[in-house]
Amino acid sequence: MVELEDIRQRTWDFGLTIATVVLLAGLGLQSFAGTIYVWWAQTTIPGWEQSSYGAYVEAMNAIAAPMLVGLVVVMGLCVPKRLLSRRLLLWASLAMVALGGVAYLASGEIAVGVAIYLGFAALIQIAVVALTLAGTRGPSYLTEGRLVKTGSGLLHLGFIVFGIVVAVLQNSVAMLPVFAAAAVLMAGGTAMSFYANRLSWRRHPESRHEHPIDF
C-alpha cells in the first residue's frame, strides 16, 4: 500500500515536472517566434515601431498570460505537495484561476486578471513557506531536504511577486521596493535550493547526490 502511494506520488511529481517543462518550452517557443517576427517586421515594415509595436506587445502579453498562469498553477501544485492535500490544492488552484478570470472579465484587462490570480498564489506560497519553516524543530532541522524545500518555496514566491511587478506595477512608485523583494526572494531561494548542502549545518559530501544514470 505504501509502495503504491509512493508510485502515485512519483508519477504525480513526474507529471508536474513534464507540465513545467512543456509550459517553459511553450514560453520559449513564443519568445523565439517573437524574435523572428520583430526581426522581420523591423527590417521590412517602415516605421513598424511607431505604427504596430503596441499591438505586437498586447498580442505577446495575451499569449504569454495563460502560460504564465499555468506555470504558477503547476508551481502551486508542486511545491507544497507534502504540506497540503492534493485535492485541496487542485480546488484552491481552480478557484483562484476562476477569480482571476472574473477579474479579467470585469476589468477587461488581462493584467488585472493575472495580478489577482498571482496575488492569491502569493498568499498560498507565503503559507507554504511558513508551514515549511514551522515544521522544523530545533537546530537539527537544517538538513538538505528542508533547506531545498524552503529555498524552492522562496524562489517560487519571488517568481510570483515578479509576475505581479511585470503585470501591474511597472509604472507604480511601489515598483522598485516590490521588485527588490522579488529579486532577493528569487536569488536567495535559488542559492538555497542549489547550495543547500553547503549551507546546511549537517554537511554531506556532494558526491552523495550524484544521479546514477542508466545509459
Partner: protein
C-alpha cells in the same frame, strides 16, 4: 577645465593602447591556434595545462592594458555643465561593452578553466577549444586594442565638437545627450552589475556545455554532475543579472520599444531553457531521460550563443544592429 585639450588626452591614450595592443591582438590569434592544436592532438596532452595558463596570462595582460585605458578615459572624458562651466560628471566606461564583450567572455572562461578542479583533465580540451574560439573571435572581430570603443569615442567626440562650436542650442543638446548617456548607460550601477553577471553566467554555461558533451561521449554520470554544478552557478548569476536588467530598462528606455524586443525575447528563451534543463535532470534515473537532459543542455547553450549574436543582428533598443 579646457575642453579643447580633452581630445588630445584621449588620442594619446588611444595611440598607446593601439601601439601596445596591436602585437597583443596578433599574439592572441596565434596563441588561439596553438592552444586549439594542443587541445586536439593527443601526443601533446602534457602541454595542455601550460597552454591554457599561457593564453590566460595573455588575456589577463591584455585586460590590464584595457583597465589602464579605461582609467585614462575616466580621467580625461568629462561632461561640463554649460551653465556653470563646472564638471558635471566623469565618464566611467565599463570594461564589457562594444569591442570588449567577447574579450571578457574569453577571459572568464580561461580563468575558470585554470581554477576548475573537478574532472579538469577530461574537460581541458573542450575548455581550451572554447577559449581559443572566443579569444580569436575577440581579437579578429572585436579588435579591442586596434579599434577600441568606436561608439563611445565617436559619441564623445561629437559632444566635444558640439561644445566647442559655441552654438548655444548645440551645446545644451550635446550636454544633455552626453549626461543621459552617463546617467543611464556608462555610469549607472546597473551597467556595472548586469552585464558582468551575464558574462559570468555565459562562461560557466560554456564549461557546463563542455561537460555535457563529455557525458555524451563517455556515458558517465559524473560528467552530468559536473555539467549541473557549472550550470547552477551560471543560472544563479543569470537570474540575478536578468532581474537587474528589468528596473534598468524601465528607467533608461521609458517610452522605447524594449518589452518583447528581439534580444529580450532571446534572453527569456535562454533562461527558460536552462530552467527546463535544471528541472529535467531531477528525473535522470528514469530510463532514457539522460538523452533529454543532454539535448536540453546543448540546446540551451546554442540558444545562449544565438542570444549573444542577436545583439548584432536583430534591431531594437537592446541592440547594436
Amino acid at each position: 577645465m579646457n575642453i579643447a585639450e580633452i581630445p588630445n588626452q584621449i588620442q594619446s591614450a588611444v595611440s598607446l593602447v593601439r601601439m601596445l595592443g596591436a602585437p597583443l591582438e596578433a599574439l592572441l590569434v596565434l596563441a588561439s591556434l596553438v592552444v586549439a592544436v594542443i587541445a586536439i592532438v593527443p601526443a601533446l596532452t602534457g602541454w595542455r595545462r601550460g597552454a591554457l595558463l599561457g593564453i590566460t596570462g595573455l588575456l589577463v595582460a591584455g585586460e590590464a592594458l584595457l583597465v589602464w585605458f579605461h582609467w585614462s578615459l575616466n580621467r580625461a572624458a568629462v561632461v561640463i555643465d554649460p551653465s556653470t562651466g563646472e564638471v558635471a560628471a566623469r565618464v566611467a566606461v565599463p570594461l564589457w561593452i562594444e569591442s570588449e564583450k567577447l574579450y571578457v567572455w574569453a577571459l572568464l572562461v580561461a580563468v575558470m578553466g585554470v581554477f576548475a578542479r573537478r574532472q579538469r583533465d577530461e574537460l581541458l580540451p573542450g575548455i581550451m577549444l572554447t577559449v581559443s574560439v572566443l579569444a580569436a573571435s575577440a581579437a579578429v572581430l572585436g579588435k579591442p586594442f586596434t579599434e577600441p570603443l568606436p561608439q563611445f569615442l565617436a559619441q564623445y567626440d561629437q559632444y566635444v565638437q558640439a561644445t566647442l562650436s559655441g552654438v548655444p542650442q548645440a551645446v545644451v543638446g550635446a550636454y544633455e545627450g552626453m549626461l543621459n548617456g552617463v546617467r543611464f548607460f556608462y555610469n549607472t550601477p546597473y551597467m556595472w552589475v548586469h552585464p558582468p553577471l551575464l558574462f559570468f553566467a555565459y562562461a560557466t554555461f560554456a564549461i557546463s556545455f563542455v561537460a555535457t558533451l563529455e557525458m555524451i561521449r563517455y556515458r558517465h554520470s559524473s560528467f552530468e554532475t559536473t555539467a549541473y554544478r557549472w550550470a547552477r552557478l551560471g543560472y544563479l548569476a543569470l537570474t540575478i543579472g536578468m532581474l537587474l536588467g528589468f528596473p534598468w530598462a524601465l528607467a533608461a528606455w521609458r517610452g522605447e520599444s524594449w518589452w518583447w524586443s528581439g534580444k529580450v525575447n532571446m534572453s527569456i528563451m535562454m533562461w527558460l531553457l536552462y530552467t527546463a534543463f535544471l528541472h529535467a535532470r531531477l528525473y535522470l534515473r528514469r530510463k532514457g531521460m539522460w538523452k533529454w537532459v543532454a539535448a536540453l543542455g546543448i540546446l540551451s547553450f546554442v540558444v545562449l550563443v544565438l542570444t549573444y549574436v542577436a545583439t548584432y543582428v536583430v534591431p531594437g533598443a537592446h541592440s547594436y544592429a
